[in-house]
């Protein structure tokens, strides 16, 4: 049985990806906004790659510039880790055409693989890490060598993305074997714990230095245009082509095997439980089932909650800096379903809408379930992150709790507003599914990340103020503002015409 894609098939897949891209481009609801966003992305990437070079001290080979240069090899490895984590969490990467739509067409696993590769950059974490890498190079590398360094780094970004995809397909192919889920979970836990242990024992940096490959790349970049640089680029290109081509092999393997965790959920039995005493409780229980029984939500939550927690644990973050974490996790959690919260009902939305219950109660249940999902995820992160941070002082604890409340409210109010304003019909069965098209998801994630990070920074500063009540006073207007926006979102949902549009849209 052949497992690898032939060159003919790869060529055919490239053609098919072109056709699918054209199809997706034609379905963009706001083409002008899309073009503007694409332009903004190019401009911002250009700015990240050049503007730091204009700052005082840039490329001086000393001070912060030297630090930036020395950190480049580690940042390059970090991009690979991020690409792997993103692609693994999404079960092999995003789909160019949703599974239920693709069934009518001969979309090969190779096409799927290439499509996922193209969609990988539509991820705020990938974008930020890439900008950070380019920005650090622009600041650290002497201006005469900046162009060759940035070319090398751009190729590296492509290599990291392709390697991430290759690893993700391989993991997915293993996960779909008989004991694959257990194997993947155990391996993931061992790798994560090993990384934390290395960091805690102070050996991680040494190990990264000893790996040396990315350091050699950086040394070749700063050598300027020349044979050494050409050699590094050639190595990168070979790696890129190999990762892209090899990625098709596990993609084919994974496609032949059934997605066991999805099938287990689909055939899952849940014995009858007693009815909750209240209508709201009954609605909350139904919505909880829709969230916690979905593979993408469970897998996404595990990665979101545990990943940043382990990073905080390994990095020995203090309580003041930990105020950044709840916003990060809450933003990521909302991107699993919250930004299109009504899609949880999918085609059941029509039936649910025919039930005699006030629209306000339905809204309250959905917002509550989203809020508790985000609270649980960020709580796990904070507990992990706090394991080495010692006991927090009153000001630190108050600032952290205020941030937690504020960012969760911010995210819930934004998500519920977007859910009513831009609903999409989505099948959230697959781990690869997203609640909105990838381009829209980038917009959502950017807005959430900016808002919650800035909020986290404000409270990070307040955690260092010795008066705990200051955090509460600052949090109050944030809370009121988010609640007002949440009430506006509720008003929109309560309007029968607006609600009918949402329900009929998500029902498909």
């Amino acid at each position: 049985m052949p497992t690898a894609a032939s060159w003919t098939e790869l060529r055919r897949s490239v053609d098919d990806v072109g056709a699918l891209l054209a199809f997706r481009a034609g379905a963009v609801r706001r083409p002008a906004a899309f073009r503007l966003s694409a332009l903004a992305f190019v401009v911002l990437t250009g700015a990240a790659a050049t503007l730091p070079a204009l700052l005082p001290g840039a490329g001086s080979g000393s001070g912060y510039a030297l630090d930036a240069l020395l950190l480049l090899p580690t940042a390059m490895l970090g991009l690979i880790v991020l690409a792997v984590a993103s692609a693994v969490a999404s079960g092999g990467g995003r789909e160019l055409l949703a599974r239920e739509h693709a069934v009518a067409y001969p979309v090969s696993p190779s096409t799927d693989h290439l499509g996922a590769l193209l969609l990988a950059p539509l991820n705020i974490a990938w974008i930020l890490q890439t900008w950070l890498l380019l920005g650090a190079a622009a600041y650290g590398v002497p201006s005469a060598q900046l162009a060759p360094a940035q070319i090398g780094l751009l190729v590296w970004v492509a290599v990291a993305t392709a390697v991430g995809q290759l690893v993700a397909w391989s993991v997915e192919a293993v996960r779909r074997t008989r004991h694959g889920v257990a194997v993947v979970r155990t391996t993931g836990a061992v790798v994560a714990l090993a990384a934390v242990a290395l960091q805690v024992s102070g050996r991680l940096t040494t190990l990264l230095d000893e790996l040396g490959a990315t350091r050699w790349m950086v040394v070749s970049y700063v050598d300027g245009f020349g044979l050494r640089w050409a050699g590094a680029i050639a190595v990168e290109l070979v790696l890129l082509v190999a990762a892209v081509a090899l990625g098709a092999v596990p993609a084919h393997l994974a496609a032949r095997r059934a997605a066991r965790d999805e099938l287990r959920v689909e055939s899952g039995r849940h014995p009858a439980r007693r009815l909750p005493r209240t209508v709201l409780g009954t609605l909350v229980r139904t919505d909880r089932g829709s969230v916690w029984r979905a593979v993408p939500m469970r897998r996404g939550l595990a990665v979101l909650a545990v990943g940043p927690g382990l990073v905080a644990l390994a990095g020995d973050l203090d309580w003041a800096r930990m105020t950044i974490l709840p916003g990060l996790v809450a933003s990521g959690g909302a991107l699993l379903f919250g930004v299109n919260a009504w899609c949880l009902d999918e085609r059941g939305g029509l039936w649910r809408e025919s039930l005699p219950v006030g629209a306000g109660t339905v809204f309250a249940a959905r917002a509550w379930v989203l809020a508790e999902f985000l609270l649980i995820a960020s709580a796990v992160t904070l507990v992990l992150g706090g394991l080495r941070a010692g006991a927090p002082g009153p000001a630190e604890l108050t600032a952290l709790l205020c941030t937690w409340l504020v960012v969760v409210l911010q995210v819930v109010s934004s998500a519920m507003r977007w859910s009513s304003r831009r609903p999409f019909a989505v099948d959230l069965r697959s781990a690869r599914a997203t609640p909105a098209p990838p381009v829209v998801m980038v917009g959502y994630s950017t807005k959430l990340a900016v808002t919650t990070t800035l909020t986290g920074l404000v409270f990070s500063g307040l955690a260092r103020v010795p008066h705990a009540e200051v955090s509460v006073l600052v949090a109050a207007p944030f809370v009121v503002w988010s609640l007002v926006r949440l009430l506006h979102a509720r008003d929109r949902w309560v309007d029968p015409v607006a609600r009918a549009r949402v329900v009929t849209t998500v029902a498909g």
């Binding site: 009815l275 089932g289 029509l350 039930l355 005699p356 219950v357």
Partner: protein
């Protein structure tokens, strides 16, 4: 039992942006009767049913269901109606029993479990009562939607494409549900594009085309070869 129509629709219009999904439908359906809504895809049948279920508000016209105006008293309409939507109609990661529990709680039903189990058995869904509906076949989903619509013995039973993809046992069980509803005095509306099944289940039919009503006739006039020809001519 009131002598007037239980479902009274006058000059119904429903518009979605530029598209007029329903363009002037009049309909009167009475207690103890089953009315079939026939027509091709996109004729406006499902949109009309969604309006009657209180899911989609009308753009214009008057719609009274069990004496309640759907525009101003949607909640009362929903209490009176049992609705089987045309697409899916099931919450993907909930079990049939959880669907029934939700409906029972929101409709304030007591002692509903026996009837629920009976309906599940009649539609051969008893074995999967505690399995999530994501993995259900299309036909199983349709059958469960009919069960959910019929659970509370509604005054108005709205079945949108209940026979679509359903096996003969499911079709028989749906006929029984319709017959039971009629015999207890409920008003039944069945939307379908399957003329033979509609005339078998209903006492009268209404044919829609392009969002508007083009004919209304006793079901008997739509039976056999003659009925098929008459129906075909109404579709073009």
């Amino acid at each position: 039992m009131s002598a007037g129509p239980v479902v009274d629709v006058r000059s119904l219009h429903v518009r979605f942006g530029e598209v007029e999904a329903v363009a002037g439908v009049d309909l009167a359906a009475h207690a103890g009767q089953a009315t079939g809504l026939l027509g091709r895809n996109g004729a406006g049948k499902s949109t009309t049913m969604r309006v009657l279920a209180g899911v989609v508000p009308p753009t214009a016209g008057t719609v009274l269901v069990a004496g309640h105006d759907v525009r101003t008293h949607a909640l009362e309409v929903k209490r009176a109606v049992g609705y089987c939507p045309d697409v899916g109609g099931l919450v993907p990661r909930a079990t049939p029993w959880e669907h029934l529990q939700l409906a029972a709680r929101l409709r304030r039903l007591r002692g509903w479990e026996t009837r629920a189990r009976d309906l599940l058995e009649r539609f051969e869904l008893g074995d999967v009562a505690h399995r999530v509906t994501t993995g259900f076949s299309h036909g199983m989903g349709r059958r469960l939607s009919v069960v959910l619509a019929a659970l509370h013995e509604p005054e108005v039973l709205l079945l949108d494409e209940p026979f679509d993809g359903v096996d003969p046992i499911g079709v028989e069980a749906t006929f029984e549900v319709i017959s039971d509803a009629r015999s207890r005095g409920a008003c039944v509306l069945v939307s379908t594009h399957l003329r033979e099944l509609a005339v078998e289940a209903c006492s009268s039919v209404l044919v829609l085309r392009g969002g508007a009503q083009v004919a209304s006739a006793p079901a008997g006039e739509m039976t056999g070869e003659e009925g098929a020809r008459a129906y075909r001519s109404l579709l073009d």
